[in-house]
Amino acid sequence: MKRRNGPLFWLGMGVLSVIFIGPLLLVLLTAFKSQSESRTVPPTYFPSEWSLRAFDVLFFQDAASPVLRWFLNSMAAATMHAALVLVVCSLAGYALARMEFRFKKAIFGAIILTLFVPGFIFLMPNFLLLDKLGWLDQIWALVVPGAAGAFGVFFMRQFFMGLPKELEESARLDGAGPFRTWWSIVLPNARPALVTLGVLSYLANWNDFIWPIYVLFSPERLTLPAGLSRLQGAYTIDYPVVMAGAMLAAIPVLALYVFVQRYVIEGVASSGVKG
């Protein structure tokens, strides 16, 4: 551990960085190529002629593929989903961390148990439930069912249990009820956990693929990942257009990640060590 890191170490770091970032840059460059240049052998890396054709096609040319609409659908679904997760999980997590009540252990045990049940079990029955609720092909199909996952409740409970009790005790002595205590004392102190859970929920929802491709049908209702996979269905794939679309899906989450990477990484790390 105390050894100096020699040139070999830095060469390794450089090679690894190229492996992880290089493919993303190649794809970004492809979005600025003509369709024929995207299929040349050997491939070019930089576009010989920079072209915005792919973005023009992506945004304006194809009425059957309303990509901007998909982008907004994805934004709306992920935002509402993250908000819903934060509300229900910080309420339930607080009750499980701080309150005593009958069946607490049974309720908590049932929630934890589902952490071990694979998600594909719920695909068919939830599809039927959404049908009964009239939520198929609706944004609610993306927003609501996923918020019932056990991870968020468990995550918030663990955080609340680590908070010092003195703050809540003094709020109680000042006459604050449990809801006020939760809202004005506990939540402001839980900001790091809320940011982490909110961002992880947002990312998971934005990136979700298997669920939207089966519960959404109308072209104007699709999310970006579901829509992009349909763009690929064409006989000859217009790769610059598909790559431009992939970058449209990638750049918002990469930008979000740049700002909150500490929260994302620490949230993931804690899922292994604490949970």
């Binding site: 551990m1 170490f9 992880f20 589902t114 029955p125 439930l129 449990p178 690929q232 292994g272």
Partner: protein, 323 residues
Amino acid sequence: MAVTTTQPTRPPSGATPAPGGRRSRGATSGIHGSRWTPYLFLSPFLLLFITFVAVPGLLGIWISLHDWDFLLPNKPFVGGQNYADLFDSGSPQFEPFWNGMKATGIFVVISVPFLVVLPLLLAILLNRRFPGRTFFRAVFFAPFVLGVAVVGLMWRYLLDPSFGMVNGVLSALGLPGDTAWTTEQPWAWISLAAVTVWWTIGFNAVIYLAGLADIPAEHYEAAEIDGATAWQKLRYITIPGLRPVLVFVVVTTVLASANMFGQSYLITKGGPGDSTRTAIMEITDLGLSQYRMGQASAMSYVLAVFLALVSLVNVWALREKKS
């Protein structure tokens, strides 16, 4: 996960209720809410949980006991027939189901060793002290924040056998540049495993890093004084120190690989032939495209039981052995 979840939950549930709980119910109960307060806090989540987790978990079993065609009004009860069909080589479900199970099994076997070992090496590298450590950690983790749709579409293009840049770079380096990465075996499996490593290496690496941080530096210092080699330090300090984390990583990685769907849906489209058509692809295609939900539900429960058994075997095989 079983190993780690239980530990932090135990002390509070054992220790706090007596002093904290009783006081709040006694002296200040009027101010501090009624006995229904906890249920009010829980109710929004429980409503969702019951509707979209508890009920569907049982409804799925009910569906699997019927010839449940979503598009037909009649859904006749067939008992265990859907399950029996999966084990009867004469039934039409037998071949596609076990082809999917085989594909899932192959992917687990070829991807998990790399998904467990390479992130560990990366974590050991990142655990050294050097300037820019946080930056490189963020770089290597970055692909994980992308969705499988982005990852699948971009690698489908980069791995294209004729004009893809992977072959382009290889031939520029003087290596064979005509490999059929997505259309021939074993290259299709190698591609899917490699893309999955590229995509998710940061996830396991970050979990390992958190585990490495808990190994006391004095252990390494003592080993260095004793003249231990790098391999000996890995074998006798790092790996034993990481054991609980390692169990978590192996179990969750096996489950994640067994859930593989998007990569082969987008990159190989289940091909060549049906060779990369995984069990999840078979289940979703049968249940959510063809709407034959009874058979698809039966498949999903059989797969779930398989995965539960595999997880138990993993936990058992990786348990701490008393010597």
